[in-house]
Amino acid sequence: MRTVNINEIIEAVERLCQESNYNLNDDIKNGLKKGVQTEMSENGKEILEQIIENAEIARKERMAICQDTGMAVVFLEIGQDVHITGGSLTDAINEGVRRGYDKGYLRKSVVNDPVFERINTKDNTPAVIHYNIVDGDKIKITVAPKGFGSENMSGLKMLTPSEGIEGVKRFIIETVDKAGPNPCPPIIVGVGIGGTMEKAALLAKKALLRPIDERNSEPRIRELELELLESINRLGIGPAGLGGRVTALGVNVEVFPTHIAGLPVAVNISCHVTRHSEAVI
């Protein structure tokens, strides 16, 4: 059995919090550049160029691309042949977030209690951590800071099976349409279909980790992704919501088997600063 000390995990999380907040991933950068070519609105083109310039400044100056450096969502894939030593894994992840946000001059955006006190924890912890046990003797850590301008525009609906594919499409497009300018378009749309209520939500979040230029391997889902992207870009919302044809840069859909009585659909909207960085230990 391979052993991994928690210090390695702390250091990796610290680094990933910072890298993800400073560096826009290439797939999104390319999507923005393509958007400059296809956008019909002159205003919209200009905004896309400013968004690209913003990302360049952030990368060069190691500055957060967006001031909403998010709640730290951490996905862990832990090989079942790994033994973690030196302390608690959960504490290690939170310590990494604490150090990353503090030393990286990133905003602390977490409150201790959602309803009553709402006092800032001042270190951006706790992180939202998803643990998954997989084969092998490695640990894969993905840090995906999630801003709430877009998170607040997300939605979940338990459709009935009779609503079918048309119902699925309608709910996704209505969710994007209602969000309008709020989630900082051009957006990335993560969709989860199937499973149970929480499984659909998790699939939608995981869909956002897939590069936007990579389609689902299942042909029908691939077609659905392309059709949804086209329909969303006809809504007219455009860059910054000022009107235009580049409303979304990508739609990623993930599916899972579900119950005979159900058709859960979750839509996780994410802004043009959709962030995720990974490390394998």
């Binding site: 019909m40 609105s41 205003n43 905004i47 400013q50 968004i51 310039e53 913003n54 990302a55 400044i57 952030a58 100056e61 190691r62 500055m63 957060a64 691309i65 967006c66 001031q67 909403d68 450096t69 001059y105 990133l106 905003r107 602390k108 955006s109 709402r118 800032n120 001042k122 301008g149 607040n152 499409k169 309608r170 497009i173 209505e174 349409d177 309008g180 300018p181 709020n182 900082c184 086209e230 329909s231 006809r234 809504l235 007219g236 919302i237 455009g238 910054a240 919501g241 000022l242 009107g243 235009g244 044809r245 802004c271 043009h272 600063v273």
Partner: protein
């Protein structure tokens, strides 16, 4: 139209601003978001003075990142304005003339803007590193315990914004969306 504006505002200037105009703002503006708005409304309800004289001022809805040593401020783009909709009409009634943020506003806010002559500007959401370049000084003036949500006095130079909703209630989000929504409706059966 393109305008350069001095903040705080000359009341006369507000009427000329129309939805879709681009502006650059120079001068002094104040930051406040969710928690600071809640506190300001509590002060008003208790009959106490606000931390700054709100007459003719602009509030920027932002919670900036911390500044690196030697820098003025960290990334500082707009947050979603609708969360301040519950509080904004009262502040507009007391003389607030401008708000900078992103996203839709409620009917109550627009009604107050029309009644008391105020304007809503949009800055590009998610362009916080770029926008930070137009902030040349900052000072926390109230509620330091709120961290990023404290009220800050910002000195801005060439701060870029667009008039989203003007004092007549005209809304660029609606106009812009309608324009491109109608451009091509083939197979668009869901909208």
């Amino acid at each position: 139209m393109k305008y350069t504006l001095e903040a705080p505002f000359d009341e006369e200037k507000i009427k000329m601003l129309k939805a879709g105009d681009t502006v650059t703002i120079n001068g002094t503006i104040y930051t406040a978001r969710d928690a600071a708005h809640k506190k300001m409304i509590s002060l008003i309800n208790e009959g106490k003075p606000l931390p700054f004289d709100i007459k003719n001022q602009i509030i920027y809805y932002v919670g900036p990142c911390p500044a690196r040593p030697g820098e003025v401020i960290g990334s500082a783009g707009p947050t979603t304005s609708s969360r301040m909709d519950a509080y904004a009409p009262k502040l507009i009634e007391l003389g607030l003339k401008g708000m900078i943020g992103k996203g839709l506003r409620s009917k109550e806010v627009v009604d107050a803007m029309k009644k008391y002559n105020a304007v809503y500007f949009g800055a590009i959401g998610g362009a916080g590193a770029l926008i930070a370049r137009s902030i040349v000084a900052q000072e926390v003036i109230a509620f330091p315990e709120l961290g990023t949500e404290a009220i800050r006095k910002l000195t801005v130079k060439d701060f870029p914004a667009v008039v989203i909703i003007d004092s007549n209630g005209d809304d660029l989000y609606h106009v812009g969306k309608d324009k491109y929504r109608n451009a091509d409706r083939v197979n668009c059966t869901y909208v």
